[in-house]
Protein backbone atom coordinates (compact mmCIF):
# COMPACT_ATOMS: atom_id res chain seq x y z
CA UNK A 1 0.00 0.00 0.00
CA UNK A 2 1.36 3.40 -0.91
CA UNK A 3 2.07 5.65 2.04
CA UNK A 4 -0.10 8.72 2.29
CA UNK A 5 1.90 11.90 1.91
CA UNK A 6 0.35 15.11 3.08
CA UNK A 7 1.58 18.51 1.93
CA UNK A 8 2.73 19.42 5.44
CA UNK A 9 4.73 16.26 5.67
CA UNK A 10 6.41 16.93 2.32
CA UNK A 11 7.22 20.47 3.41
CA UNK A 12 8.74 19.34 6.72
CA UNK A 13 10.82 16.66 5.06
CA UNK A 14 12.02 19.09 2.39
CA UNK A 15 13.05 21.73 4.91
CA UNK A 16 14.81 19.12 7.07
CA UNK A 17 16.66 17.69 4.07
CA UNK A 18 17.85 21.10 2.91
CA UNK A 19 18.94 22.04 6.43
CA UNK A 20 20.99 18.89 6.88
CA UNK A 21 22.40 19.23 3.37
CA UNK A 22 23.44 22.83 3.95
CA UNK A 23 24.95 21.99 7.35
CA UNK A 24 27.09 19.30 5.77
CA UNK A 25 28.09 21.54 2.89
CA UNK A 26 28.63 24.62 5.08
CA UNK A 27 32.38 24.20 5.80
CA UNK A 28 33.10 23.93 2.08
CA UNK A 29 30.85 26.91 1.34
CA UNK A 30 32.58 28.95 4.04
CA UNK A 31 36.01 28.09 2.64
CA UNK A 32 34.90 29.21 -0.81
CA UNK A 33 33.56 32.49 0.65
CA UNK A 34 36.71 33.14 2.71
CA UNK A 35 38.84 32.66 -0.39
CA UNK A 36 37.30 35.80 -1.86
CA UNK A 37 37.99 37.97 1.19
CA UNK A 38 41.07 39.83 2.36
CA UNK A 39 43.13 38.34 5.22
CA UNK A 40 41.85 41.08 7.51
CA UNK A 41 38.20 40.46 6.71
CA UNK A 42 38.49 36.69 6.85
CA UNK A 43 38.87 36.60 10.62
CA UNK A 44 35.95 38.89 11.38
CA UNK A 45 32.61 37.66 12.76
CA UNK A 46 30.57 35.68 10.23
CA UNK A 47 28.15 38.51 9.57
CA UNK A 48 30.98 40.98 9.05
CA UNK A 49 32.66 38.50 6.72
CA UNK A 50 29.58 38.32 4.54
CA UNK A 51 29.15 42.08 4.35
CA UNK A 52 32.82 42.85 3.68
CA UNK A 53 34.22 43.47 0.18
CA UNK A 54 34.88 40.63 -2.24
CA UNK A 55 38.39 40.35 -3.69
CA UNK A 56 40.56 38.04 -5.76
CA UNK A 57 43.70 39.11 -3.91
CA UNK A 58 44.19 35.80 -2.13
CA UNK A 59 44.08 33.91 -5.42
CA UNK A 60 46.66 36.27 -6.93
CA UNK A 61 48.93 35.83 -3.96
CA UNK A 62 48.59 32.07 -3.90
CA UNK A 63 49.43 31.97 -7.60
CA UNK A 64 52.52 34.08 -7.02
CA UNK A 65 53.75 32.23 -3.98
CA UNK A 66 53.35 28.68 -5.19
CA UNK A 67 53.13 26.71 -8.39
CA UNK A 68 49.50 25.54 -8.45
CA UNK A 69 49.88 23.90 -11.83
CA UNK A 70 52.75 21.68 -10.67
CA UNK A 71 50.75 20.43 -7.69
CA UNK A 72 47.65 19.99 -9.81
CA UNK A 73 49.60 17.92 -12.35
CA UNK A 74 51.10 15.90 -9.52
CA UNK A 75 47.63 15.17 -8.17
CA UNK A 76 46.46 14.13 -11.62
CA UNK A 77 49.49 11.90 -12.22
CA UNK A 78 49.30 10.31 -8.77
CA UNK A 79 45.59 9.61 -8.84
CA UNK A 80 45.43 8.40 -12.44
CA UNK A 81 48.75 6.54 -12.20
CA UNK A 82 47.82 4.73 -9.00
CA UNK A 83 44.37 3.90 -10.40
CA UNK A 84 45.79 2.48 -13.61
CA UNK A 85 48.39 0.42 -11.77
CA UNK A 86 45.75 -0.81 -9.34
CA UNK A 87 43.50 -1.87 -12.23
CA UNK A 88 46.29 -3.77 -13.97
CA UNK A 89 46.83 -5.77 -10.79
CA UNK A 90 43.23 -5.95 -9.62
CA UNK A 91 41.47 -7.11 -12.80
CA UNK A 92 43.32 -10.44 -13.04
CA UNK A 93 43.22 -10.81 -9.24
CA UNK A 94 39.47 -10.23 -9.09
CA UNK A 95 38.99 -12.51 -12.11
CA UNK A 96 40.69 -15.41 -10.39
CA UNK A 97 38.88 -14.82 -7.11
CA UNK A 98 35.49 -14.55 -8.80
CA UNK A 99 35.78 -17.38 -11.31
CA UNK A 100 38.34 -19.84 -9.97
CA UNK A 101 37.98 -19.41 -6.23
CA UNK A 102 40.09 -21.56 -3.97
CA UNK A 103 39.40 -22.70 -0.44
CA UNK A 104 41.02 -19.61 1.00
CA UNK A 105 39.62 -16.97 -1.38
CA UNK A 106 37.08 -15.63 1.13
CA UNK A 107 39.73 -15.45 3.87
CA UNK A 108 42.08 -13.69 1.51
CA UNK A 109 39.45 -11.10 0.64
CA UNK A 110 38.71 -10.48 4.31
CA UNK A 111 42.40 -10.21 5.08
CA UNK A 112 42.88 -7.67 2.32
CA UNK A 113 40.06 -5.60 3.67
CA UNK A 114 41.43 -5.85 7.20
CA UNK A 115 44.63 -4.10 6.10
CA UNK A 116 42.47 -1.03 5.55
CA UNK A 117 41.71 -1.01 9.28
CA UNK A 118 45.36 -0.71 10.24
CA UNK A 119 46.33 2.82 11.29
CA UNK A 120 48.66 4.13 8.60
CA UNK A 121 50.84 5.89 11.12
CA UNK A 122 51.79 2.47 12.51
CA UNK A 123 53.95 1.79 9.48
CA UNK A 124 55.10 5.35 8.92
CA UNK A 125 58.64 4.86 10.19
CA UNK A 126 59.47 1.69 8.23
CA UNK A 127 57.86 3.14 5.12
CA UNK A 128 59.74 6.38 5.49
CA UNK A 129 63.04 4.59 5.97
CA UNK A 130 62.42 2.37 2.95
CA UNK A 131 61.55 5.38 0.83
CA UNK A 132 64.69 7.15 2.04
CA UNK A 133 66.95 4.15 1.33
CA UNK A 134 65.48 3.54 -2.12
CA UNK A 135 65.64 7.23 -2.97
CA UNK A 136 61.87 7.42 -3.42
CA UNK A 137 61.19 10.35 -1.11
CA UNK A 138 59.42 13.14 -2.95
CA UNK A 139 59.15 11.12 -6.17
CA UNK A 140 55.95 10.54 -8.13
CA UNK A 141 56.75 6.91 -8.76
CA UNK A 142 57.15 6.19 -5.05
CA UNK A 143 53.84 7.81 -4.25
CA UNK A 144 52.05 6.10 -7.12
CA UNK A 145 53.15 2.77 -5.63
CA UNK A 146 52.03 3.72 -2.14
CA UNK A 147 48.65 5.02 -3.27
CA UNK A 148 48.15 1.89 -5.37
CA UNK A 149 48.86 -0.32 -2.39
CA UNK A 150 46.56 1.67 -0.15
CA UNK A 151 43.59 1.45 -2.50
CA UNK A 152 44.25 -1.98 -3.98
CA UNK A 153 42.07 -3.85 -1.45
CA UNK A 154 39.07 -1.67 -2.24
CA UNK A 155 39.66 -1.90 -5.98
CA UNK A 156 39.94 -5.70 -5.86
CA UNK A 157 36.84 -5.93 -3.66
CA UNK A 158 34.77 -3.74 -5.93
CA UNK A 159 35.85 -5.52 -9.09
CA UNK A 160 35.32 -8.88 -7.41
CA UNK A 161 31.69 -7.95 -6.64
CA UNK A 162 31.11 -6.78 -10.22
CA UNK A 163 32.72 -9.87 -11.72
CA UNK A 164 30.61 -12.09 -9.48
CA UNK A 165 27.56 -10.70 -11.25
CA UNK A 166 28.79 -11.93 -14.64
CA UNK A 167 27.50 -15.42 -15.43
CA UNK A 168 30.33 -17.93 -15.58
CA UNK A 169 28.68 -19.59 -18.60
CA UNK A 170 29.51 -16.56 -20.75
CA UNK A 171 33.19 -16.93 -19.96
CA UNK A 172 32.93 -20.66 -20.60
CA UNK A 173 31.32 -19.87 -23.95
CA UNK A 174 34.29 -17.64 -24.74
CA UNK A 175 36.65 -20.47 -23.83
CA UNK A 176 34.71 -22.83 -26.11
CA UNK A 177 34.88 -20.19 -28.84
CA UNK A 178 38.64 -20.36 -28.76
CA UNK A 179 39.47 -17.44 -26.50
CA UNK A 180 42.60 -17.79 -24.42
CA UNK A 181 42.76 -16.22 -20.97
CA UNK A 182 43.96 -12.87 -22.32
CA UNK A 183 41.23 -12.70 -24.96
CA UNK A 184 38.63 -13.82 -22.42
CA UNK A 185 39.50 -10.99 -20.02
CA UNK A 186 40.06 -8.41 -22.76
CA UNK A 187 37.15 -9.11 -25.12
CA UNK A 188 34.48 -10.54 -22.86
CA UNK A 189 34.97 -9.87 -19.16
CA UNK A 190 36.25 -6.29 -19.24
CA UNK A 191 33.67 -4.89 -21.70
CA UNK A 192 30.89 -6.53 -19.71
CA UNK A 193 32.22 -5.06 -16.49
CA UNK A 194 32.70 -1.55 -17.90
CA UNK A 195 30.09 0.11 -15.64
CA UNK A 196 31.69 -1.51 -12.61
CA UNK A 197 35.20 -0.70 -13.71
CA UNK A 198 34.19 2.90 -14.37
CA UNK A 199 32.79 3.29 -10.86
CA UNK A 200 35.89 1.70 -9.41
CA UNK A 201 38.12 4.06 -11.37
CA UNK A 202 36.12 7.08 -10.25
CA UNK A 203 36.13 6.12 -6.62
CA UNK A 204 39.81 5.30 -6.68
CA UNK A 205 40.71 8.57 -8.38
CA UNK A 206 38.77 10.48 -5.73
CA UNK A 207 40.34 8.49 -2.87
CA UNK A 208 43.82 8.97 -4.29
CA UNK A 209 43.21 12.67 -4.95
CA UNK A 210 42.10 13.20 -1.35
CA UNK A 211 44.77 11.04 0.28
CA UNK A 212 46.52 13.33 2.72
CA UNK A 213 48.59 11.17 5.03
CA UNK A 214 51.23 9.62 2.83
CA UNK A 215 51.27 12.49 0.35
CA UNK A 216 52.13 14.88 3.19
CA UNK A 217 54.67 12.57 4.82
CA UNK A 218 56.54 11.40 1.75
CA UNK A 219 56.67 14.52 -0.43
CA UNK A 220 58.00 18.01 0.00
CA UNK A 221 57.98 19.82 -3.30
CA UNK A 222 58.62 18.20 -6.68
CA UNK A 223 56.15 15.31 -6.28
CA UNK A 224 53.83 17.15 -3.91
CA UNK A 225 50.17 17.02 -4.90
CA UNK A 226 47.44 19.50 -3.98
CA UNK A 227 47.18 18.22 -0.40
CA UNK A 228 50.70 19.48 0.23
CA UNK A 229 49.77 22.69 -1.57
CA UNK A 230 46.93 23.29 0.93
CA UNK A 231 49.04 22.28 3.90
CA UNK A 232 51.72 24.79 2.98
CA UNK A 233 49.22 27.55 3.74
CA UNK A 234 48.32 26.31 7.18
CA UNK A 235 50.68 27.61 9.78
CA UNK A 236 50.59 27.49 13.55
CA UNK A 237 50.98 31.24 13.76
CA UNK A 238 49.89 34.08 11.56
CA UNK A 239 46.69 34.81 9.74
CA UNK A 240 46.45 33.04 6.42
CA UNK A 241 42.77 32.08 6.47
CA UNK A 242 42.00 33.73 3.17
CA UNK A 243 44.99 32.28 1.33
CA UNK A 244 44.43 28.87 2.91
CA UNK A 245 40.82 29.02 1.78
CA UNK A 246 41.75 30.10 -1.73
CA UNK A 247 44.28 27.27 -1.96
CA UNK A 248 41.76 24.78 -0.59
CA UNK A 249 39.14 25.88 -3.09
CA UNK A 250 41.59 25.48 -5.94
CA UNK A 251 42.57 22.02 -4.66
CA UNK A 252 39.08 20.63 -4.21
CA UNK A 253 37.46 22.26 -7.23
CA UNK A 254 38.61 19.69 -9.84
CA UNK A 255 37.53 16.66 -7.81
CA UNK A 256 34.30 18.35 -6.77
CA UNK A 257 33.43 18.98 -10.41
CA UNK A 258 34.38 15.41 -11.36
CA UNK A 259 32.28 14.08 -8.50
CA UNK A 260 29.33 16.28 -9.43
CA UNK A 261 29.22 15.08 -13.01
CA UNK A 262 29.80 11.44 -12.18
CA UNK A 263 27.60 11.12 -9.10
CA UNK A 264 25.00 9.05 -10.93
CA UNK A 265 27.66 6.59 -12.09
CA UNK A 266 29.23 6.53 -8.63
CA UNK A 267 26.01 5.79 -6.80
CA UNK A 268 25.04 3.17 -9.37
CA UNK A 269 28.45 1.60 -9.08
CA UNK A 270 28.53 1.55 -5.31
CA UNK A 271 25.08 0.02 -4.99
CA UNK A 272 25.57 -2.39 -7.88
CA UNK A 273 24.73 -5.88 -6.77
CA UNK A 274 22.99 -4.62 -3.66
CA UNK A 275 19.82 -3.66 -5.50
CA UNK A 276 19.88 -6.02 -8.41
Amino acid sequence: MARKTTQTRTAVVTVAAWTIGLLIFFPILWIIILGFKSEGDAIKTPLAVLTSDWTLASYHEVQERSNYFLHFMNSVILSLGSTLLALVIAIPAAWSMAFVPGKRTKDLLMWMLSTKMMPAVGVLVPMYLMFRDFGLLDTRIGLVVVLTLINLPIVIWMLYTYFKEIPGEILEAARMDGANLRAEILHVLTPMAVPGIASTVLLNVILAWNEAFWTLQLTTSSAAPLTQFIASYSSPEGLFYAKLSAASTMAIAPILILGWFSQKQLVRGLTFGAVK
Binding site: P167, E169, E172, A173, R175, D177, N180, V188
Partner: protein, 332 residues
Amino acid sequence: MGQITLSSVTKSFGDVTVIPPLDLRIEDGEFVVFVGPSGCGKSTLLRLIAGLEDTSSGKIAIDGTEATDLPPAKRGLAMVFQSYALYPHMSVRKNIAFPLKMAGLSPEIQAQKVEAAAKVLNLTSYLDRRPGQLSGGQRQRVAIGRAIVREPAAFLFDEPLSNLDASLRVSMRQEISELHQTLKTTMIYVTHDQVEAMTMADKIVVLQAGRIEQVGSPMELYRHPANLFVAGFIGSPKMNFITGAEAAQQGCTTLGVRPEHIDVVEGGPWQGTVGLAEHLGSDTFLKVNVAGVGDLTVRVSGERMLRHGDPVSLAPQPGKLYRFGADGKALA
Protein backbone atom coordinates in the same frame (compact mmCIF):
# COMPACT_ATOMS: atom_id res chain seq x y z
CA MET B 1 34.71 -35.96 -38.41
CA GLY B 2 33.48 -36.18 -34.87
CA GLN B 3 34.04 -39.51 -33.20
CA ILE B 4 34.36 -39.27 -29.44
CA THR B 5 35.55 -42.03 -27.13
CA LEU B 6 35.47 -41.98 -23.35
CA SER B 7 37.50 -44.68 -21.59
CA SER B 8 37.14 -45.22 -17.83
CA VAL B 9 36.43 -41.53 -17.35
CA THR B 10 35.72 -40.50 -13.75
CA LYS B 11 34.96 -37.22 -12.06
CA SER B 12 35.01 -36.41 -8.37
CA PHE B 13 34.45 -33.13 -6.59
CA GLY B 14 36.39 -33.53 -3.35
CA ASP B 15 35.16 -36.75 -1.77
CA VAL B 16 32.03 -36.92 -3.89
CA THR B 17 32.24 -39.09 -6.97
CA VAL B 18 29.88 -37.72 -9.58
CA ILE B 19 30.93 -39.99 -12.42
CA PRO B 20 32.18 -43.48 -11.54
CA PRO B 21 34.34 -45.12 -14.26
CA LEU B 22 32.42 -44.71 -17.52
CA ASP B 23 33.04 -45.93 -21.06
CA LEU B 24 31.22 -44.57 -24.07
CA ARG B 25 31.76 -44.38 -27.79
CA ILE B 26 30.01 -41.81 -29.92
CA GLU B 27 30.22 -42.37 -33.67
CA ASP B 28 30.80 -39.68 -36.25
CA GLY B 29 27.60 -37.95 -37.30
CA GLU B 30 25.47 -39.44 -34.55
CA PHE B 31 22.85 -37.49 -32.61
CA VAL B 32 23.38 -38.70 -29.06
CA VAL B 33 21.17 -37.61 -26.19
CA PHE B 34 22.25 -37.86 -22.55
CA VAL B 35 19.09 -38.14 -20.51
CA GLY B 36 18.42 -38.63 -16.84
CA PRO B 37 16.93 -36.96 -13.79
CA SER B 38 18.56 -33.80 -12.45
CA GLY B 39 21.81 -34.46 -10.66
CA CYS B 40 22.51 -37.64 -12.62
CA GLY B 41 25.78 -36.23 -13.95
CA LYS B 42 24.71 -35.69 -17.57
CA SER B 43 25.80 -32.06 -17.66
CA THR B 44 29.05 -32.89 -15.91
CA LEU B 45 29.72 -35.55 -18.51
CA LEU B 46 29.13 -33.03 -21.29
CA ARG B 47 31.44 -30.53 -19.60
CA LEU B 48 34.12 -33.19 -19.33
CA ILE B 49 33.85 -33.78 -23.07
CA ALA B 50 33.91 -30.01 -23.68
CA GLY B 51 36.98 -29.61 -21.49
CA LEU B 52 35.27 -27.16 -19.15
CA GLU B 53 35.87 -29.66 -16.34
CA ASP B 54 38.99 -31.76 -15.88
CA THR B 55 38.56 -35.51 -15.64
CA SER B 56 39.70 -37.08 -12.36
CA SER B 57 40.96 -40.08 -14.30
CA GLY B 58 40.40 -41.84 -17.61
CA LYS B 59 40.84 -40.74 -21.17
CA ILE B 60 38.86 -38.77 -23.72
CA ALA B 61 39.73 -39.10 -27.40
CA ILE B 62 38.27 -37.01 -30.22
CA ASP B 63 38.68 -38.52 -33.70
CA GLY B 64 41.23 -40.92 -32.28
CA THR B 65 43.41 -38.15 -30.86
CA GLU B 66 43.96 -37.97 -27.13
CA ALA B 67 42.16 -34.85 -25.87
CA THR B 68 41.97 -35.41 -22.12
CA ASP B 69 44.30 -32.55 -21.27
CA LEU B 70 43.48 -30.22 -24.14
CA PRO B 71 41.88 -26.88 -23.26
CA PRO B 72 38.28 -26.40 -24.54
CA ALA B 73 39.36 -24.17 -27.42
CA LYS B 74 41.69 -26.84 -28.82
CA ARG B 75 39.14 -29.66 -28.90
CA GLY B 76 37.32 -28.40 -31.97
CA LEU B 77 33.93 -28.69 -30.28
CA ALA B 78 31.20 -26.07 -30.05
CA MET B 79 28.76 -25.74 -27.20
CA VAL B 80 25.28 -24.26 -26.84
CA PHE B 81 24.40 -23.39 -23.26
CA GLN B 82 21.07 -23.44 -21.46
CA SER B 83 21.34 -19.72 -20.69
CA TYR B 84 22.43 -19.05 -24.31
CA ALA B 85 25.57 -17.36 -22.88
CA LEU B 86 25.64 -14.69 -25.57
CA TYR B 87 27.99 -11.75 -25.20
CA PRO B 88 25.58 -8.98 -24.19
CA HIS B 89 27.87 -6.14 -25.25
CA MET B 90 28.22 -7.40 -28.83
CA SER B 91 25.77 -7.30 -31.72
CA VAL B 92 24.41 -10.58 -33.07
CA ARG B 93 26.91 -10.25 -35.94
CA LYS B 94 29.84 -9.91 -33.56
CA ASN B 95 28.56 -12.70 -31.35
CA ILE B 96 28.49 -15.12 -34.26
CA ALA B 97 31.83 -13.85 -35.57
CA PHE B 98 33.57 -14.13 -32.21
CA PRO B 99 34.91 -17.68 -32.63
CA LEU B 100 36.11 -16.76 -36.14
CA LYS B 101 37.86 -13.69 -34.78
CA MET B 102 39.51 -15.84 -32.13
CA ALA B 103 40.62 -18.23 -34.86
CA GLY B 104 42.29 -15.27 -36.58
CA LEU B 105 40.25 -15.35 -39.80
CA SER B 106 40.19 -12.28 -42.01
CA PRO B 107 37.24 -9.88 -41.62
CA GLU B 108 36.00 -10.73 -45.14
CA ILE B 109 35.83 -14.46 -44.42
CA GLN B 110 34.25 -13.72 -41.03
CA ALA B 111 31.54 -11.65 -42.71
CA GLN B 112 30.89 -14.35 -45.33
CA LYS B 113 30.52 -17.09 -42.75
CA VAL B 114 28.34 -14.98 -40.48
CA GLU B 115 26.02 -14.17 -43.39
CA ALA B 116 25.81 -17.84 -44.34
CA ALA B 117 25.02 -18.94 -40.81
CA ALA B 118 22.47 -16.15 -40.36
CA LYS B 119 20.73 -17.28 -43.54
CA VAL B 120 20.46 -20.88 -42.32
CA LEU B 121 19.03 -19.72 -39.00
CA ASN B 122 16.78 -16.90 -40.30
CA LEU B 123 18.75 -14.30 -38.39
CA THR B 124 19.74 -12.02 -41.29
CA SER B 125 17.47 -9.16 -40.26
CA TYR B 126 18.64 -9.28 -36.65
CA LEU B 127 22.39 -9.15 -37.25
CA ASP B 128 22.83 -5.63 -35.92
CA ARG B 129 20.75 -6.07 -32.80
CA ARG B 130 22.07 -6.76 -29.34
CA PRO B 131 21.10 -10.04 -27.61
CA GLY B 132 18.99 -8.04 -25.13
CA GLN B 133 16.69 -7.01 -27.98
CA LEU B 134 15.93 -10.60 -29.05
CA SER B 135 13.37 -13.14 -27.90
CA GLY B 136 14.40 -16.37 -26.23
CA GLY B 137 14.10 -18.42 -29.39
CA GLN B 138 16.12 -15.90 -31.42
CA ARG B 139 18.82 -15.84 -28.76
CA GLN B 140 19.05 -19.59 -28.86
CA ARG B 141 19.40 -19.43 -32.64
CA VAL B 142 22.24 -16.93 -32.25
CA ALA B 143 23.92 -19.32 -29.83
CA ILE B 144 23.53 -22.08 -32.41
CA GLY B 145 24.85 -19.75 -35.11
CA ARG B 146 27.92 -19.05 -33.03
CA ALA B 147 28.41 -22.79 -32.78
CA ILE B 148 27.96 -23.65 -36.46
CA VAL B 149 30.32 -21.04 -37.90
CA ARG B 150 33.20 -22.83 -36.23
CA GLU B 151 32.44 -25.96 -38.24
CA PRO B 152 33.17 -28.05 -35.15
CA ALA B 153 33.86 -31.76 -34.96
CA ALA B 154 30.82 -32.03 -32.71
CA PHE B 155 28.12 -29.84 -31.20
CA LEU B 156 27.44 -30.02 -27.50
CA PHE B 157 24.02 -28.88 -26.32
CA ASP B 158 23.44 -28.38 -22.60
CA GLU B 159 19.65 -28.35 -22.07
CA PRO B 160 19.32 -25.68 -24.75
CA LEU B 161 15.53 -25.55 -24.78
CA SER B 162 14.80 -25.46 -21.05
CA ASN B 163 14.35 -21.70 -20.96
CA LEU B 164 11.85 -21.61 -23.82
CA ASP B 165 8.08 -21.89 -23.63
CA ALA B 166 6.39 -25.13 -24.65
CA SER B 167 5.42 -24.31 -28.24
CA LEU B 168 8.77 -22.70 -29.04
CA ARG B 169 10.47 -25.73 -27.56
CA VAL B 170 8.73 -27.99 -30.06
CA SER B 171 9.68 -25.84 -33.06
CA MET B 172 13.30 -25.36 -31.90
CA ARG B 173 13.50 -29.11 -31.34
CA GLN B 174 12.55 -29.64 -34.95
CA GLU B 175 14.99 -26.97 -36.11
CA ILE B 176 17.86 -28.64 -34.29
CA SER B 177 16.88 -32.02 -35.76
CA GLU B 178 16.78 -30.51 -39.25
CA LEU B 179 20.13 -28.85 -38.65
CA HIS B 180 21.54 -32.26 -37.82
CA GLN B 181 20.12 -33.69 -41.05
CA THR B 182 21.74 -30.86 -43.02
CA LEU B 183 25.13 -30.69 -41.32
CA LYS B 184 25.47 -34.38 -40.50
CA THR B 185 27.83 -33.40 -37.68
CA THR B 186 28.01 -35.29 -34.40
CA MET B 187 25.70 -33.76 -31.82
CA ILE B 188 25.63 -34.49 -28.12
CA TYR B 189 22.52 -33.21 -26.45
CA VAL B 190 21.81 -33.13 -22.73
CA THR B 191 18.24 -33.03 -21.47
CA HIS B 192 16.10 -34.22 -18.60
CA ASP B 193 13.11 -34.35 -20.94
CA GLN B 194 12.55 -37.85 -22.25
CA VAL B 195 10.30 -36.53 -25.04
CA GLU B 196 13.22 -34.50 -26.43
CA ALA B 197 15.41 -37.57 -26.11
CA MET B 198 12.94 -39.85 -27.89
CA THR B 199 12.18 -37.45 -30.73
CA MET B 200 15.68 -36.24 -31.54
CA ALA B 201 18.16 -38.97 -30.77
CA ASP B 202 19.82 -41.57 -32.93
CA LYS B 203 21.17 -42.95 -29.69
CA ILE B 204 20.05 -42.30 -26.13
CA VAL B 205 22.34 -42.66 -23.14
CA VAL B 206 20.28 -43.01 -19.97
CA LEU B 207 22.21 -41.92 -16.90
CA GLN B 208 21.56 -42.29 -13.21
CA ALA B 209 23.95 -41.22 -10.47
CA GLY B 210 26.73 -40.88 -13.03
CA ARG B 211 26.31 -44.44 -14.27
CA ILE B 212 25.12 -45.40 -17.72
CA GLU B 213 21.94 -47.42 -17.25
CA GLN B 214 21.45 -48.21 -20.92
CA VAL B 215 22.55 -47.06 -24.35
CA GLY B 216 20.43 -47.63 -27.42
CA SER B 217 18.14 -46.19 -30.06
CA PRO B 218 14.91 -44.62 -28.77
CA MET B 219 12.80 -47.57 -29.85
CA GLU B 220 15.25 -50.08 -28.42
CA LEU B 221 14.98 -48.40 -25.04
CA TYR B 222 11.22 -48.24 -25.33
CA ARG B 223 10.83 -51.86 -26.41
CA HIS B 224 13.60 -53.47 -24.43
CA PRO B 225 14.43 -51.47 -21.29
CA ALA B 226 17.36 -53.06 -19.50
CA ASN B 227 16.08 -52.32 -16.03
CA LEU B 228 13.35 -50.71 -13.94
CA PHE B 229 14.97 -47.28 -14.08
CA VAL B 230 15.06 -47.11 -17.87
CA ALA B 231 11.59 -48.66 -18.11
CA GLY B 232 10.20 -45.98 -15.80
CA PHE B 233 12.12 -43.13 -17.40
CA ILE B 234 11.40 -43.75 -21.06
CA GLY B 235 7.79 -43.47 -22.16
CA SER B 236 5.08 -41.03 -21.21
CA PRO B 237 2.99 -41.55 -19.14
CA LYS B 238 5.44 -43.80 -17.36
CA MET B 239 5.21 -47.56 -17.21
CA ASN B 240 3.01 -49.16 -14.53
CA PHE B 241 4.91 -51.35 -12.09
CA ILE B 242 3.08 -54.17 -10.38
CA THR B 243 4.57 -56.10 -7.48
CA GLY B 244 3.29 -58.82 -5.17
CA ALA B 245 1.21 -61.85 -6.09
CA GLU B 246 0.43 -60.70 -9.63
CA ALA B 247 4.17 -60.37 -10.38
CA ALA B 248 5.01 -63.61 -8.64
CA GLN B 249 2.49 -65.38 -10.88
CA GLN B 250 4.55 -64.25 -13.87
CA GLY B 251 7.77 -65.46 -12.20
CA CYS B 252 9.27 -62.03 -11.46
CA THR B 253 9.57 -59.45 -8.68
CA THR B 254 8.17 -56.54 -10.63
CA LEU B 255 5.86 -56.66 -13.59
CA GLY B 256 5.85 -53.69 -15.95
CA VAL B 257 3.15 -52.71 -18.43
CA ARG B 258 2.90 -49.46 -20.35
CA PRO B 259 -0.35 -47.46 -20.17
CA GLU B 260 -0.76 -47.79 -23.96
CA HIS B 261 -0.50 -51.58 -23.68
CA ILE B 262 -3.55 -52.04 -21.47
CA ASP B 263 -6.94 -52.38 -23.12
CA VAL B 264 -10.34 -51.80 -21.62
CA VAL B 265 -12.23 -54.99 -22.53
CA GLU B 266 -15.17 -57.07 -21.43
CA GLY B 267 -14.17 -59.81 -19.01
CA GLY B 268 -10.48 -58.90 -18.68
CA PRO B 269 -8.35 -60.32 -15.87
CA TRP B 270 -8.13 -57.01 -13.93
CA GLN B 271 -11.31 -55.51 -12.50
CA GLY B 272 -11.15 -51.98 -11.21
CA THR B 273 -12.78 -48.58 -10.76
CA VAL B 274 -11.82 -45.37 -12.54
CA GLY B 275 -10.26 -43.02 -9.99
CA LEU B 276 -9.38 -40.18 -12.34
CA ALA B 277 -9.96 -39.54 -16.03
CA GLU B 278 -7.81 -36.97 -17.84
CA HIS B 279 -9.30 -36.10 -21.22
CA LEU B 280 -6.66 -34.67 -23.55
CA GLY B 281 -8.88 -34.80 -26.62
CA SER B 282 -7.01 -37.34 -28.71
CA ASP B 283 -6.33 -39.58 -25.72
CA THR B 284 -7.71 -40.15 -22.30
CA PHE B 285 -5.55 -41.22 -19.39
CA LEU B 286 -7.35 -43.23 -16.77
CA LYS B 287 -6.13 -43.91 -13.30
CA VAL B 288 -7.76 -47.20 -12.40
CA ASN B 289 -7.68 -48.78 -8.99
CA VAL B 290 -7.44 -52.54 -9.50
CA ALA B 291 -8.03 -54.77 -6.51
CA GLY B 292 -4.92 -56.79 -5.62
CA VAL B 293 -2.79 -54.97 -8.21
CA GLY B 294 -2.89 -51.29 -7.25
CA ASP B 295 -3.31 -48.10 -9.25
CA LEU B 296 -2.76 -48.49 -12.99
CA THR B 297 -2.51 -45.73 -15.58
CA VAL B 298 -4.30 -46.69 -18.78
CA ARG B 299 -4.26 -44.89 -22.10
CA VAL B 300 -7.44 -45.16 -24.09
CA SER B 301 -8.84 -43.40 -27.13
CA GLY B 302 -10.20 -39.94 -26.53
CA GLU B 303 -13.58 -41.16 -27.79
CA ARG B 304 -14.16 -43.24 -24.70
CA MET B 305 -16.13 -41.24 -22.17
CA LEU B 306 -15.33 -42.91 -18.86
CA ARG B 307 -15.74 -41.05 -15.60
CA HIS B 308 -14.71 -41.18 -11.98
CA GLY B 309 -16.30 -44.21 -10.30
CA ASP B 310 -17.05 -46.18 -13.50
CA PRO B 311 -16.23 -49.89 -13.18
CA VAL B 312 -13.84 -51.16 -15.86
CA SER B 313 -12.25 -54.42 -16.82
CA LEU B 314 -8.68 -54.32 -18.09
CA ALA B 315 -6.43 -56.67 -20.02
CA PRO B 316 -2.72 -56.27 -20.83
CA GLN B 317 -1.85 -56.77 -24.49
CA PRO B 318 -0.22 -60.16 -25.05
CA GLY B 319 3.58 -60.03 -25.32
CA LYS B 320 3.76 -56.48 -23.96
CA LEU B 321 4.49 -57.38 -20.34
CA TYR B 322 7.94 -56.61 -18.95
CA ARG B 323 9.37 -58.76 -16.20
CA PHE B 324 12.04 -57.53 -13.78
CA GLY B 325 14.03 -59.47 -11.19
CA ALA B 326 14.76 -58.57 -7.57
CA ASP B 327 17.85 -56.62 -8.68
CA GLY B 328 15.70 -54.47 -10.97
CA LYS B 329 17.18 -55.97 -14.15
CA ALA B 330 14.93 -57.09 -16.96
CA LEU B 331 14.33 -60.84 -17.20
CA ALA B 332 14.46 -62.51 -20.59
